[in-house]
Each structure stands twice: as C-alpha cells, then as structure tokens.
C-alpha cells in the first residue's frame, strides 16, 4: 500500500495538479460584473413632465383712459389696491403745443382782423342807435298826429314797424360787438404756449376696477401718455394657477381633472394640483435646437390651501408632472433592464446557476424609471440592469458590490 506513494509520484501529482488548476482557471470565462434589479409588484405612475410657470388667474391691466400728462405713479409692486378708491395715477391736460412761424403769423393776423371787425361792428352800433332814435321820434310824432286824426292808422303802423326794426338792428349790432370781442379772445388764446401758467381742465384720476395687489408698474415715471397706454397691472396673488406648454401629442393624453405633482418650485415638498383646462388652441414654438414644435397650454390649479404655497408669485417657475395613468399593483422592472431585440423587448435574467438568460417580454406602460411587464417574467426574478456587450446568453454574472 505504501509502495506506490513514493516521492517522485507525489511531486509529479502535485505538479500535474498545479498545471491542471492553472489550465482550468485560464480557460474558464470570468464572471461579468453586473448590476441587478428585481421584477416585483408595485404601483406604477406614468407622468408627463414639463416646466411650468405660475400666473395670476385674472390679470387686469389698467390703462390710460385719455391722452394726457401722467403724473408719477406712486404705487410700487406689492401695494394693495382698493377698487375705485386707491389712486393708481392722475392724468392732467397736456401743455399747449408751440407755434411755428406760419401759425404764429396767422394767429396774429387773425387777431388784427378781428380787432378791425370789432371796430367796424362798434361803428355799426352807433349807426343803429342813430337809426333807432330817428325811428322812435317818427313813431311818437305819427302817434300824436294820429290821436288828433291827421294821419291814417296805416302810417302809424309803418312808423311802429320801422321803430321795432331799428331796435332789433341795434340789439343785433350790440351782439355782433360781443361776438367779435369773444372771437378776438379766442384768437388771442391761439397765441398761448407752454409755460404760460394758464390752467386747463379735465384732469382724470385713474383707479382700479378690481381689488388685488399691484403686480407690475410698466409706466412709473411722469410722461405724456396716449389713451390706452398700460399703466398698472393688478392681480390677486392669492388666486394663482400654473400654465405649462406641452407638445400637442402629450397634451392629447392629458385629461382635465388629472392629478399633478408640482416639484422644484423652491418649497421643501412637492405640491399637488389638478388639471383644469387643456386649451383647444395650439401654437408653434421654436425649441432651443431650432425645431418647430406645436405646443398646447395646459392650465393647472393648486389643490392645496394657499398656506402651502404662500411664497409663490406671478411668473414663478416649477416643474409639473401630470399623471397620465396610474396603476396600484402591476409587475414592473427597472426600465434600464429592457432592451430591444428585433421588434420586441427583451431582458437578461439571472438563473439559479448565476448565468445570464435572455428572455423576451411584453412591456406595457413605462415611465422614466420603471416599465410594466405584461408577460414574460415572474415576480422576484433578478434582471440585469443596462447589460453591456459582455453579457450574453449563458455568461456567468456576478453582482457588483
């Protein structure tokens, strides 16, 4: 029994064993390091994510009702506004415009012309008075004679008519003098220019028709404004909404009333919202890469009390995640485990022997992180995440630390 266990044999056996071990290890494929995930049941929420902006639900732009000189607007953004009471701005008449040489010459000539007319009409007054005195006398004479029966009644009537005409002519001449002197005043007013201290009339106080807060003062400094110039924007920051422009293909999948998660708005937790309106009107927007996209505005209401988003204002940015579909319990895998093979989705699963096995699966709904598996996998199976080109059917794998 001890005969065959000699030194040379033992040494040879050891050498052969070492070589055999070396050959075995050298020829063996090393295990590929992979990251593993697991197919499991759980909730799956599919959302459409985009950037959105807050805005005041009803924004009122108060504009100038008349053309005139706007005095400096005293309100700053944030000031409270009481309807028909808080003074937003005051518009005065503008200063008279200057006269160029022609207009000045015309105006002075007009004054002189009217002065001459005034002199002429005053002369007309003297003439009319002389005529009237004569007519009065003739009438009294005729009436005396008629009382004594020397002239006919017809003569008396004619004299009376002549007296009445002359009275009327006198009154007319007087009025004409008044009219001409007023005309002269008007002609002199044409010479008024800026800085003459003359006061105009018709200053207007601008007030807000609605309560709220001043959001923006686009025209703060004093200046001449044309009727319709926006002066102050008034809105109620307690009533905010979020508007986001989605690609029209995404907007089609959004239903009014859908739940929305509002994130990255600056607060310490996401807010909840609800889609109120998907606008029926799309518009073209050119993306940063110069691609023309058809986008649709989606309006979202906050579903939480004002205290939760107290610090938000008009035109603030937030990320909105609109829930398109939500399933409470589906079989799902991390989306990085899925890859295309032909027209179907596939995954690599790790079998009991630690080897990768490719499996064809049918995928359902997907979001950025997870995908629903309709068929092809069982719950609890381990899948390889983002498999590299080293992973293939039957390759030994090992989970990376």
């Amino acid at each position: 029994m001890r005969n065959w266990l000699t030194g040379p044999r033992l040494l040879l056996a050891l050498l052969v064993a070492a070589v055999a071990l070396a050959v075995f290890v050298a020829l063996r494929e090393p295990a590929v390091n992979v990251e593993l995930g697991r197919a499991e049941h759980g909730p799956l929420v599919v959302t459409i994510d985009d950037l959105g902006e807050t805005r005041v639900t009803n924004l009122y732009v108060v504009s100038a009702p008349i053309t005139g000189q706007l005095l400096r607007v005293p309100l700053k953004p944030g000031a409270q506004v009481v309807p028909r009471q808080t003074l937003l701005g005051r518009i005065q008449p503008v200063e008279p415009s200057p006269l160029d040489a022609r207009a000045y010459a015309q105006a002075t000539a007009e004054i002189r012309s009217l002065q001459a007319q005034l002199a002429a009409s005053q002369s007309r007054v003297s003439e009319a008075r002389a005529e009237q005195i004569l007519a009065e006398r003739e009438f009294s004479r005729a009436s005396d004679l008629a009382n004594r029966g020397f002239v006919s009644r017809a003569n008396v009537d004619r004299a009376r008519a002549a007296r009445d005409r002359s009275r009327a002519a006198f009154a007319e001449a007087n009025q004409s003098v008044a009219a001409t002197s007023q005309g002269l005043q008007a002609a002199r007013a044409a010479l008024m220019v800026a800085g003459t201290k003359a006061k105009g009339a018709g200053a207007v106080d601008v007030t807000s028709p609605v309560p709220g807060f001043v959001l923006r003062v686009p025209q703060e400094s004093e200046r001449v404004v044309v009727a319709g110039t926006p002066l102050v924007e008034v809105g109620d920051p307690d009533r905010l909404e979020i508007v986001t422009d989605l690609l029209s293909a995404d907007a089609v999948r959004v239903r009014p009333g859908a739940e929305v998660f509002i994130e990255d708005w600056g607060g310490d937790r996401p807010l909840k919202g609800r889609v109120r309106l998907v606008e029926p009107y799309g518009f073209t927007k050119i993306s940063a890469l110069g691609v023309e996209e058809q986008r649709v505005n989606v309006v979202i209401d906050f579903a939480e009390p004002r205290e939760a988003w107290l610090r938000l204002g008009h035109g603030y940015r937030a990320t909105v995640r609109i829930v398109v579909s939500a399933a409470p319990n589906v079989l799902k895998v991390p989306i990085s485990a899925l890859f295309r093979s032909g027209r179907e989705w596939s995954v690599f699963v790790v079998d009991a022997g630690g080897r990768a096995r490719s499996k064809q699966v049918k995928a359902g709904r997907m979001n950025d992180e997870e995908a629903e598996i309709v068929s092809g996998l069982a719950a609890g199976e381990r899948v390889i995440l983002h498999p590299s080109d080293k992973v293939d059917e039957g390759v030994r794998v090992r989970e990376r630390d």
Partner: protein, 141 residues
C-alpha cells in the same frame, strides 16, 4: 475602442510574457546548472553505485520541481501585491484606476512558468544523462 486598447495591450502583454519566460528559463536553468556542477561528483558516484539515470535525474529535478511548486503561490501573492501598489501609485487627483483582478492572469503566469521550467528540466535531464562519469569522479575536491 475597447478592441483597439485590447489589441495594443495584447502586444505589450505578449512581449512581457516572453521576457518573463526567458527570465524563468534563465533562473531555473541557471540554478539547475549550478547545483549540477556542484554535485556532479555526487551524482556520478550515485550512477557508479548503481542508481538508474531516472533516479539520479530525480534527485536534481525533483528539488527543482519542488522549488517551482513552492514559488508559485508566493509569486502569485507578490504579483497581486505589486499590482495593487502600482494602481495606487497611478491614482491622481483627477482620476484613479480601479484594481481589476482577473483570475485568468495568474493562471496564465503559472502556465508560462511551468512550461519554461519543463523546458529547462528537459535540457538539464539531457545534460545529466550525458554526464562524463570518469571526468566527474577524477576531479579532486
């Protein structure tokens, strides 16, 4: 990319392996030659006393084989330690190279050493077989 790097590293590794094999050949052959010349008289005496060629060769080559066997795990351990040290020294502020250990590498090393040692053993064996008994025994110590 990976293929390009692998190709270039493959050429480098091939040369390194060749050099390593040459060194193994030199070391093993050298030590064997030294002990052969040291013990030429003993071996010749054994031959004269009636030991067979194989048995005489075993005295020398067995020692050699045992040495190689013992050196293999020590060499592998030292190799791993050297790799670790080099990768640590390569780490800079901007990047660091992770230590990738592939069991194939020491296995290939073992094979290279064993092949080189076997080649040496064959050479030595032929020398022992052709040992000039008379001249070896004649030399005075």
């Amino acid at each position: 990319m990976r293929d390009t790097v692998a190709e270039q590293m493959g050429i480098v590794t091939l040369f390194n392996t060749l050099f390593a094999a040459l060194i193994v050949l030199g070391v093993v052959y050298n030590s064997a030659r030294i002990s052969l010349s040291e013990r030429a008289r003993d071996l010749a005496s054994m031959r004269v006393l009636g030991f067979r060629r194989g048995e005489v060769a075993y005295v020398l080559l067995g020692e050699l084989g045992l040495l190689v066997l013992i050196s293999l795990p020590i060499g592998i351990g030292l190799g791993i330690a050297l790799t670790r040290y080099v990768t640590q020294q390569f780490s800079a502020d901007l990047y660091s190279i992770p230590l990738g250990f592939n069991p194939q590498t020491p296995a290939e090393g073992v094979l290279a050493v064993v092949v080189a040692a076997a080649a040496t053993a064959l050479l030595i064996r032929s020398r022992i077989d052709r040992l000039d008994l008379v001249r070896a025994l004649k030399t005075r110590e």
